[in-house]
């Protein structure tokens, strides 16, 4: 075995055999001080409004993509209900935001993500009403922006569609939880090392738990895209995802 492969495997084994208490989900009800709840809420609102306008515009221009939009919303709904075990010995769930962000652009998913978060906050005591703004920001806004940006970037460099879809969903998912760590670190700076120390602590926990789930989310999004490219070419052309002759 080459040296690189050995290092790779030892890192994997280290991750697998290193259980630590961790959390990797939305910020819980009441666990964000009010000033942060209001700030993140205020930042999130414009994106949600832009998202509503964007949805209206897209649906008016291409009425037949309405069902596809519903499907993208449903995808988020399913994926955020799936708490999947991770290598750290705890569970987290994917977000499913990437698919909609690739299809419809960065803002519409702010609306759909918000709906999912409200459902979970009210009925499942998962996330929370006071932390809704912060969670919408991390999942539905940062997640969307990252997914959309990565997708566009790889498309620009003429990378294959499956790769752009995979990386967009993967990084969108991962950055959601990186953002959550930021939000928590800002609200809970460590007494000894300040925001930086808290950030390292939260991120160290997050990145590892979420990594395999982000890979899963990337793969699941590619699966849906495979289906779309075989059955829904016309809609993908309407949304300028596929040009007339392109295929996966």
């Amino acid at each position: 075995m080459s040296k690189k492969i050995q290092i790779f495997f030892s890192i994997i084994l280290m991750l697998i055999f290193m259980p630590k208490p961790t959390f990797a989900m939305h910020i819980m009800e009441g666990f964000l001080p009010p000033v942060w709840c209001i700030s993140w809420g205020a930042i999130a609102i414009p994106f949600v409004i832009l998202g509503l306008f964007s949805i209206q515009k897209t649906v008016q221009a291409n009425p037949r993509v309405k069902m596809l939009l519903a499907m993208a919303g449903a995808f988020t709904f399913v994926l955020s209900a799936l708490k999947i075990p991770s290598v750290t010995g705890s569970c987290s769930h994917p977000t499913g935001i990437g698919l909609g962000a690739i299809l419809f652009g960065p803002t519409p998913m702010a609306v759909l993500g918000l709906i999912v978060l409200i459902f979970q906050a009210l009925l499942l005591a998962h996330g929370g009403i006071t932390t809704l703004g912060a969670n919408t920001f991390s999942m539905a806004i940062v997640g969307s922006l990252v997914s959309f940006g990565v997708y566009k970037l790889i498309k620009k460099f003429k990378g294959p569609l499956w790769l752009s879809v995979f990386l967009a969903a993967f990084l969108g998912d991962l950055m959601t939880y990186v953002t959550t760590s930021f939000q928590l670190a800002l609200a809970y700076p460590s007494a000894t090392g300040g925001i930086g120390e808290s950030l390292v602590k939260f991120m160290g926990i997050f990145a590892v738990t979420q990594l395999p789930l982000a890979v899963s989310e990337g793969i699941l999004t590619v699966i849906i895209f495979n289906v779309l490219t075989s059955y829904s070419k016309n809609e993908l052309q309407d949304l300028k995802i596929l040009s007339e002759e392109a295929s996966l």
Binding site: F23, V87, T88, S92, A125, S216, I219, V227, S232
Partner: protein
């Protein structure tokens, strides 16, 4: 005719690819269960509270969920419902799109 046969073959290839990808996703979920057989696989919200109280010892949540599922069973019911409703919409859409494509080809 040959065009349609080519399409059918392509469709089969995609189904095959997707099945492989689904197996991969399942493997990613199952591997931790095997290697971490002693772990709790908790939903992590409680551990989050620990992490925060390590940093800020006096912190008390200032707001509580308006409604909490009365038991773990009810909670999993609601999560299953969420996944079920979502899957229903996705399945409906895929069936619809597939049927539509068939009709278009026959026309």
């Amino acid at each position: 005719m040959s065009h349609r046969a080519g399409d059918a073959r392509k469709e089969q290839q995609i189904v095959g690819k997707n099945i492989l990808l689904i197996i991969l996703v399942i493997a990613i979920a199952v591997i931790p269960l095997i290697f971490q057989s002693k772990a709790e696989f908790a939903g992590a919200d409680d551990q989050a509270k620990d992490a925060i109280s390590q940093i800020d010892k006096g912190y008390k949540p200032w707001f509580h969920s308006i409604w909490t599922p009365p038991s773990a069973e009810i909670e999993s019911l609601l999560f299953a419902l969420q996944a079920g409703i979502g899957s229903l919409v996705i399945g409906y859409y895929i069936g619809f799109a597939r049927g539509r494509k068939k009709t278009e080809e026959e026309a």
